[in-house]
Amino acid sequence: MSPASSYENRKWYSGMFIQEDWWSVWLGMTFVFLGLCSIFGPDLVGWVANPHAWSAGTPFEKMIAPMGKGYTSWGPWGSLIASYVFISIPVCLGAYCMGWNFKKFVGGWTCIFVITYASWIIGHHATITATSREWSKYGISFGLGLGGGGSYILALFVGLFIGNFMKGFAHYLSEAAKPEWFIKTAIVFLGVKVGYMAIKAAGFVMELAVAGAAATIVAYLIFWPGTYFIARRFFHFGRKTSAVLASGVSICGVSAAVATAGAVRSKPLVPIMVSALIVVYAVVELVVLPPIFSSTMSSEPIVAGAAMGMSVKTDGADGAAGAVLDELMRAAKLDKDGVTYEEGSITISAVMTKVWIDMFIGLWAFVLAMVWVYKIDKVPGEHVPASEVWHRFPKFVLGYFLAWGVYLAILFLTPQLAPAAKIGAVPVEGGMRKLFFMLTFVSIGCITDFKKLAQSHFGKLIFVYFIALFVYIVPVAVIVAYVFHHGMMPPMAG
């Protein structure tokens, strides 16, 4: 049996060193705690390579450089090599502990890392990033004004090209293409951002957390029964299939579909089919929704972010879509007003609703399991163990809140340490978070093969998913997000 088999999910501590969810906590917190060492003096994370906007004639050392001032002498190549080595060590250790094919993983990871940085640097060309206000600075007469979002979109398309037109290579990369692991790690890093953003916008962060929780509960109560009704009434699916579909489309994609299928004791075929559909549709949402939301909700960036969190299924696609939205809306604001929002604040709003959704899944599945086992199926003698809630709890959320709480506590209880703490926080929440977002984009693309949608026998599942998602879920998500978040504005940069 593979050491990563979740047959180990028997005790509360099962899976701590063999599941990706837990490894996103270990990986994320390793760098968070290394970052915290700056409080005592040394900056142990400033080596991370971070690209900057460039144009023709820009020297390479200006295109990419280490984030920490103490590492400037390392130059672009030194910081790139350091980023590869220092990040690969814990990543590969995780892959080893999870029982993946180690040799294949190291090869795939190295390729993905190189593709990621290449896309990241190319995506920072001024014609992609610069707004009209910056054209003269870069000596250009045309620019897409996408900000850092251009790199994300480029990374996704490079990944999709590999996944759909270079299938042999995509298969080779598949052992290391783990978008959920990468995005969950990025969300742990985002916890650092939320923690120290609270210094200048404590009210905003708390309001976002409360509004996100309230919006999520309301969305659950509207989304789930509505989608279940659509599946039952108009597409005549059975109860179990409708329940799995309702959770997958309306709550949080694959994890919700699997949790619900387990709760209603469905045969695994149902969540497998629904999950395959969710993964492909999530990429469609990732491509389509950020430009639509940024152009139609420019005056309500937090509404747009929260709606994104409730609309896009899978953590990877949501975090990625939130990051693109963040970049697009900030670039548009800069172009229009000459000032812009704090980087990452719109991403936080997209991730906040998703984190609440993820946390509620376990509870929701537990309630559903009790209803199904005791009332609907009435299986004699069966009991639903309460430990099911814990087994379904997203563990990466613990890392997110821990990172958030640690920085919040340090900065509020010992404000004199804030400048030193920030030295170690910025490379983690800025450079590493963006790097892991970029890894997510490349990986999502690599594992998404649109042809599978046509080849598989999904039948009317494709249509019910499409209708439920774009006709019901997305519009309702926007309304619910508006009700709970309208008027909330992210802090301004600087």
Partner: protein, 87 residues
Amino acid sequence: MLDFRLIYDGKAWRAMHGDISVQGKSLISLDKNLEQELVNRDMTQGLSEYKVRMTFDNSCMPEFMRQYANHYFNRVVHFKFDNARRS
């Protein structure tokens, strides 16, 4: 209490523990077959209740899904006996 590994092999649910292996088209029939197996093996002799925990083995889920969800479901079944028959 006995711990069983639970899988779905594409056609039936299977519960396994050591040399005990029982299957059923549905979970209800699996439970019935398991109860009978326990009785046949004299494992319930003199007992009024027997508790069985079934842990689903996620390794029978496709690999692409495991990064999204690493838990399907665990279940606990109480078999109650009256003259070695389930009440």
